[in-house]
Structure formats: C-alpha cells, structure tokens
C-alpha cells in the first residue's frame, strides 16, 4: 500500500517537472516588464508603462512619421490647416473608423476627449501642457477660477462640416507635437458616458474638475480605435487582441501579453528560453554580458536616447543644515558657493566623462553639448563640451572665491535619489576626482527617499542633485525652457538666472519659424557652456534585445517618442516568423 502511494506520488512529480514547454505561438507577442501599469485611461496616462499600452488601444489625431521625431503625419485626422496667424487649427477626421465597442468615431468623440482632458486636468495627469496651449494656463478650474465652461467649450469645437477646430489663446509652436502624445487620444464618447464617465455637458462638469482618472471606469473598460483591444487585465498580466474592426491594415500579431515579472533573473531566463519575446532587460551591462550572443537573441544597438540628465549646482542653497559651517573654512560651504562661475567650471572639469561612459554605460555613451537630446530639432552639435581635466579644474579652483576655496577647502553635502544607481555612481566618480585634487576638499554623498528629495530639491534646499528630464512631446522648448529659463520648472533647483537666456527662450516660444528657433537655441547652448550652470551627464545609447523570430525591430524603425520602448514601434508594425 505504501509503495503504491510512493510510486504514484513520484509519477505526479514527474509530470509536474516535465521540461516540455510550448514555445510562444507565432501570432502571440509576450512581453515581460518589472513594473505594473497604473492606468489605461488616456486622460490619466503620464508614464511610459501606461503609455505603451494606451498608444496601442487608442489613437491620436496626429503621430510621428516612422522613426522621425521632427515630422508628424495624420492618424485619426486626414489633414489639418493652420489659420488665424497660427492660432486656429482645423482637422479633417478619418471616416469609417470604429471603436472597439462598435461605435463609429465622429467629431463629437474628438471634442469630448479634449474637453474631458481640460475639465478634469488632474494634478497627476499630463494634461497641464495641453491646457497651457488651449486655455493659456496649466491649471484646472479649481485652481484657476478664470477657467469657465464657456472657455473650455470654445477652445475645442466641431464645425458644421464635422471638422475639429482648436482655438488657441496664443501661438504655440509645440501644439501639434503635443497632440501626438498618447494622453491626447480620442476616446469613445458614447461608451464612456454609458459606463459612468463625465457626460460631456456643462450640467455635471464641476463634479469632474481635478478628478483623478487612474482608476476610472474607462480605465477598466477601454474602448479606442487602436489596432488592439483589451481582453483582460489582472494583477500580473494584460492581454490584448487584434481588433477585427480596425480601419487600417490588419496586424500580423494577434495576441499581445504583457506580464509583470519583477525578478530580473526570471525575466532573463524566460527570454533566453524563448518564453518571452521582449523583456525589460535591466540595462546595457546586463544585455551585453548575459543576453548578447546567446542563441535566438538579437541585439539592436545605437538607438536614440531622449533623456537629458545633469548635476544641478544650486547657486542659492536655502537650507542651512546642508551647508556645514556655512563658511569657506573647510568644514562647509556658503549658500552661494556655486554662484562663482570658477567653481562651476572647476566641477565641470572634474567629472570623468570617459570613465562614466566606460563603467556605467559599458562604453556606449555620448557627451551632449546641451541639455537637449541630440535627435531633437534645435540641437547644436558644434557647441564645445567639457572634458575631464584635473589641471584645468585645479586652475579654476585656485581662482574661485579669491583663492579661498583652494586655501581652506570645503565640505559639500550632496544627495541622490535612493535606489538610483547611475546617480549614485556619477556622484562617486565626481567625489573621487575632486577629493584627489586637494585633501581639503570633501564631498559627503547620501541617499534620500524620493518623496523627500522631490520637495527639498524643489524648495532649493539641496546643494547638488542629479535629475533628468524625459520629453512630454518632441519640441526643444520642453527641455530648453525647463532647464535654462528662470521661469522654467527646474529653476528653483539651480537658481541660475541669465537675463539674455531668458529673453532668447521667450522669443523661441513666440515663433513657429524653425530656423529662427534653432538659432535661438544655439545661442542658449553656447551661453550655457560658458556659464556652466550644470554638469552634463553623458547620454547612454539605447540598446534592446529581442527574440530572433520577432520581425520589425530595427534602429531604422525605432522611434524614441513611442512609449513601447521595447521596440520603439507600435505592436501593429511587428510580426513573427
């Protein structure tokens, strides 16, 4: 009796550990990510994970042409005209487009989508920049009482011919690229109202102001015009299927599964065994050491990177407790330590850019001339860059603060966002080089929780931090104004103000002439090189790994503005052999 039991349990065990595994089917794309997806409601989409799904379920009026980030082409629109001195945009909409619910898309849906974004404009969402274009302020009606229903209603309207008309309070050269953002997708009005979203009228608009839509009913039951429709979403997987009623070409891949697998090792194994076609691979070092050259793995390297990061040198540190002695006596720094351009240049000459590229970016990195991705319009490759040069650094340190820096030394307290390995490493490299210059130079590095970091840096309390910016839309203003203007979002962190730069940046906002704008941005970049308000961190070069039976992934088709950065394309452009 006992033996039988033992035998049968062995048999069961054998069946359980059997190695035979079904490879991923030809019509199914399996993707494994470490993080979860916060929302599937376009209006609340303001992160890449949500964007990567939303951009495939929904569609925008215009989109980027192929891999280009400078050229836009119509998607749900068929054409557009700009009139009234650049303040009126009129869109012809595509006919015979069906939503996943079966409803046909009309101009009313487009009007509803934009008005919904303007009405709710929750603080967590990315609707502030469309509101800036259409209402002249990034706020919603709760925060800015000048916003009325009439104002929202007038900003976006359908005319008699069924065209969508936007009326802008002033010229905005970035308006079209803002429309390409997945958050500005067209949603299914009838469906949304039926499941309990905003009714689209003045009657209940007040109830929806500032409403956080991340968990909205529409997020649970999306209905877009995209090539894929949501089948199911649970704790660890999102399943989408090709939409039969799609207006465009039928996609080659029928099923898409996004799995959440937090463990990197588990993702790597699944990928190497062919159980996943694409994974979040954990960065260049992991891809090159552990995936490259393995059977069935294809590496695509040299992809554009659209994040710009820098050391911020705060010229007006507003927290005495971070200053040590608060004097140049070797045990601290004065609050305006970085206001001397010699200090800033000395620091910029002390960072070992080549070592950072070699160690952190596995040899693939690029020093940019300004805090703008090199693939963006307005980037000027001819501006000079700083190099690691201890001699120059020493010379500038000797000149700084009348020689007191070199004579007395300093102790600088810097912080990085806890868990950010690249930021920590960059700071350690800087620390090592600066402390090697003079034994009286000391840098203390400490991690800070993000929640604390956000506010302290915003309040100008941190002497030195590293932060980056990823584009909301492909316009240089999104970077240049953010970093360099004294009205920009990052100003309180650096407190660097240059009247000339401010003027140039405002001018660039007021014209749609590309040549003029490019010239203005070059001027800003040149001035920033001379004044050195930031230490520019080399930009990594993008790399992805995919299974060899997945087709349609290449550097030629990779668009950095697509949220699905696993391939830089929409799912509908992929196929498998």
């Amino acid at each position: 009796m006992k033996k039988v039991a033992l035998l049968s349990s062995l048999l069961v065990a054998g069946a359980l550990v059997g190695t035979a595994q079904a490879a991923v089917a030809k019509d199914t794309l399996v993707v494994q990510w470490s993080s979860d997806v916060p929302t599937l409601d376009p209006s609340a989409t303001y992160d890449t994970a949500s964007g990567a799904i939303v951009e495939n379920l929904y569609e925008t009026l215009v989109t980027y042409k192929g891999a280009s980030i400078r050229e836009l082409e119509p998607l749900l629109a068929t054409k557009w005209t700009i009139s009234n001195g650049g303040r009126t945009y009129t869109f012809d909409l595509r006919k015979n487009v069906k939503f996943h619910s079966g409803n046909t898309m009309t101009c009313a849906d487009a009007e509803y989508s934009f008005e919904r974004n303007l009405v709710t404009n929750a603080a967590e969402s990315g609707n502030w920049f469309i509101a800036e274009s259409l209402l002249g302020t990034g706020s919603n009606a709760n925060d800015d009482k000048s916003i009325t229903w009439a104002k929202i209603d007038k900003a976006v309207e359908c005319n008699r011919a069924g065209q969508l008309v936007f009326t802008l309070p002033k010229v905005d050269p970035a308006f079209l690229s803002k429309l390409a953002y997945a958050g500005q997708s067209i949603v299914d009005r009838q469906h949304a109202i039926r499941i309990g979203e905003w009714k689209g009228t003045e009657a209940d608009w007040r109830n929806w102001i500032g409403k956080d839509l991340q968990g909205s009913n529409l997020s649970k039951q999306p209905s877009g015009t995209g090539a894929y429709r949501l089948v199911r979403r649970d704790a660890n997987a999102i399943l989408a299927q090709a939409f039969d009623g799609y207006w465009g070409k039928k996609p080659a891949i029928k099923n898409v599964i996004i799995q959440r697998v937090p463990e990197l090792a588990a993702r790597q194994q699944a990928f190497l065994r062919g159980d996943a076609d694409l994974i979040e691979a954990g960065g260049r070092a992991n891809i090159e050491e552990q995936l490259k050259g393995k059977p069935g793995v294809v590496i695509v390297d040299g992809l554009p990177n659209t994040v710009a990061s820098a050391f911020f040198m705060n010229q007006n540190i507003k927290d005495a407790s971070r200053l040590g002695s608060g004097k140049l006596d070797g045990r601290g720094i004065p609050a305006n330590f970085f206001s001397d351009v010699n200090v800033r240049r000395a620091f910029a000459y002390s960072f070992n850019y080549a070592q950072y590229i070699r160690d952190v970016q596995n040899g693939k990195g690029k020093q940019r001339t300004m805090l703008l991705p090199d693939s963006f319009p307005g980037y000027d490759a001819k501006i000079k860059t700083y190099t690691y040069d201890p001699k120059q650094a020493e010379a500038y340190f000797k000149r700084a603060w009348g020689g007191n820096v070199w004579r007395n030394g300093f102790t600088l307290n810097v912080a990085y966002r806890a868990g950010s390995v690249p930021a920590q490493t960059a700071m350690e490299i800087l620390k090592k080089n600066i402390e090697a210059l003079n034994p009286k130079f000391r840098i203390n590095i400490q991690p800070k929780e993000w929640s604390a970091m956000l506010n302290d840096s915003k309040a100008g309390k941190e002497p030195m931090i590293i932060i980056g910016w990823a584009p909301d839309y492909a316009d240089p203003d999104n970077f240049m104004y953010t970093f360099y203007s004294s009205n920009g979002y990052y100003f309180p962190r650096s407190n660097w103000k240059d009247a000339q730069v401010d003027k140039w940046l405002e001018q660039a906002r007021e014209t749609t002439n590309t040549a003029t704008r490019n010239r203005l941005y070059s001027l800003v970049g040149q001035r920033a090189y001379e004044q050195s308000p930031y230490i520019l961190i080399p930009a990594g070069v993008g790399i992805i790994a995919h299974r060899d039976n997945l087709l349609g992934v290449s550097a030629r088709t990779y668009n950095p503005m697509i949220s699905f950065s696993d391939t830089g394309t929409l799912w509908r452009d992929l196929s498998k052999k």
Partner: protein, 340 residues
C-alpha cells in the same frame, strides 16, 4: 567589618562560575556537540566582526583611512598605534562603505584585490566582513533594547495585573495583528521618508524594537504570573518590600531564565531580518556594508559563471544562521522547564 579580605571573594566567584558551568542546563548544553560547534562558529563570526578592520583592511587612499587620520593601511593592524584602537572601537562611518573596485555593474571573479570577487563593482569580501560588524552592532543594540523593554513592560503587566495588564495585552494584540515584516517595512519607509538624511541604522533599530519587545513581554509576563505566587515573593512583600524593588530583585531575575536564551537566539535572527529587508531594497543605502544587498545584487547574475556573487554571501548568511540556531536552540532546550 571595615575591610573584607579579598581572597575569599574571588574564590567565591570562582566557585560560582564552577557552579554555573556544572549546573544541569549547562551540562546538558556542553554534552551537545553540535551546539558547541555552533557556539564556536558564532564566536568566530563575532571575532570577524570585531577584527573587521584587520581582516578586510581598508585600502590606501580610502576615505576610511582618511577619516581615521591614518597615512598607511599598516597602521590599522598595529596595536601600538592610535589608529588601531579607533578603527576597532570607533570606526568612522566611511569605513562601513564597501570598497568599490570599479563602477561597472558586471561582476569580476575573485582576485588578489577582491578575494571573493566583486558584485556591482563592490568588493564582496569587504562587504561581508564589515557587514558582519554592522549586523552584530545592530543586533546587540536591538536585542538589548527589546529585552530591557520587554522585561520591564512584561514584568509590570504581570505583576500589577488589572487594567494595566489589560491595556498592555490589548496593545500587543494590535501589534500582532499585522505581520511583523509588514509593520517593520511600514515603519522604516515612513521613518526614512520623514527624516531624510538620517543615519540608516536608526529607523531599522526603531522598527525592530517596536516589533520585537512584545514577544519578550509576553514570555516575561507569563513567568511573572507564575513566580508572583511563589512563597518567597509573598515573604518579601510581608517584610515590607516595595513594588519596584520587589519586581527588580525577586521577580525579574527569575523570569530572565526563559527570556535570555530567546535573546541569544534573536541575536542570530535579527541580522537575518535586517538582511531580508535590504534584500527587498529597504534599510541601508547601496554600498553600505551589510549582507542582504549582496544577495540582492546576485539576483541579476544567476548564471553559473557568476557563481561567486551568489555563493559567498549565501554561504556566509547560512553559516551564521546555522551557528546561532544550533547553539541557541540547544540553549533554549536546556533552559526549557519542560525538557529539564
């Protein structure tokens, strides 16, 4: 009676020591060979922790040496030098930063400079050795505080009874209604978020104290309830002993017998708890000498060719845990009234 001869006192002490060593629980413990092996290994770990500055000597040019005021690494190993004493008894914080061989995340195999190889650019050997020190330091502090707190609160609860007892016990119920790990995680994240830049050990100590004292309090309370009824306590009370004195002199020492073996076991489990936390990405910043994050680093490099990033930290942790469990378990059994 003004001067007491010294000799009898020492002999008395010696005989007390002999009494202790030949007491039944200790005899039982001494007979348990595995427990003795465990004790030896645990002591070895203790020595590793204490002599970390010599075993994993900070290299020339490191911030650790700079802050010690040493000009060469040899000074750390020289007992005649002030640096030796400072390194062993008051090592500056920079010594607890694992030495970094490179800034590249790719592991490098064991070599002259990094005996156990590097993980994420950090010297595994240095991290494990100084990590032992971190672990013991925290472990002693945490167990010390929780033991004292637990004994005091448990004694009060058991001795006075009534509403005090009720209040304390209900509070413990509430604490126990949340898994200890979750409570610890919540406390640490909130404490760290609200006090940016705080010494990373403080939230850990506080969180483990909050979750740890209740266990001791329950045990001590039970013991107190038992000893309270013993005759000598009554006798002391009838002789006019006051409550605090009574608790301290008569009730507490008796209850300690069951709390102490658990405390010794906890000296081994607390470091594992801390390691588990940093494995989850909580507790210490990256690069601080402790064990959990070295295992965490290994998660991304599980292939056989990177065996060293996994094997050394895992072996270290398992050996440590094994040693404390062998010894601590036997100790607890030896003092367990049921198996006596």
């Amino acid at each position: 009676m003004t001067s007491v001869p010294a000799a009898p006192a020492t002999s008395q002490r010696r005989s007390r020591l002999r009494d202790f060593l030949t007491s039944r629980p200790i005899l039982k413990l001494r007979r348990n060979r595995l427990a003795m092996v465990g004790m030896v290994i645990a002591l070895l770990f203790l020595l590793i922790g204490f002599f970390a500055p010599i075993i994993a000597r900070p290299s020339a040019g490191s911030n650790c040496l700079r802050d010690l005021g040493a000009s060469s690494p040899q000074q750390v190993a020289n007992p005649l030098d002030r640096v030796f004493w400072q390194a062993h008894f008051a090592a500056p914080a920079t010594c607890y930063a694992i030495e970094r061989e490179s800034f590249s995340p790719v592991p490098t195999p064991p070599s002259e400079t990094a005996r156990f190889g590097t993980s994420q650019g950090y010297d595994i050997f240095y991290g494990l050795v100084w990590g032992t020190r971190t672990m013991f330091k925290l472990s002693f502090i945490i167990v010390g505080i929780t033991l004292v707190l637990g004994v005091i609160i448990g004694a009060i609860s058991g001795f006075y009874g009534g509403w005090i007892d009720n209040l304390i016990q209900r509070f413990i119920d509430v604490l126990f209604a949340l898994p200890g790990l979750v409570l610890t995680i919540i406390l640490i994240t909130f404490l760290k978020a609200s006090n940016p830049g705080i010494d990373p050990s403080l939230p850990i100590i506080l969180a483990f104290t909050v979750t740890g004292w209740a266990g001791y309090a329950r045990i001590v309370r039970g013991d107190v309830l038992r000893t309270r009824q013993l005759e000598y306590v009554d006798a002391a009370r009838s002789l006019g002993a006051r409550d605090p004195r009574l608790i301290l002199k008569h009730v507490v020492p008796n209850s300690l017998a069951s709390a102490l073996p658990i405390a010794i076991l906890d000296l081994g489990t607390v470091p594992l708890g801390i390691a588990a936390l940093s494995f989850l990405g909580l507790g210490f910043p990256t690069g601080y000498a402790e064990w959990g994050q070295l295992v965490d680093f290994a998660r991304a490099w599980l292939q056989p060719q990177y065996w060293y990033v996994m094997v050394y930290p895992a072996a270290f942790i398992i050996l440590f845990s094994l040693a404390f469990n062998l010894f601590g378990d036997a100790l607890r059994d030896a003092y367990d009234p049921k198996t006596r």
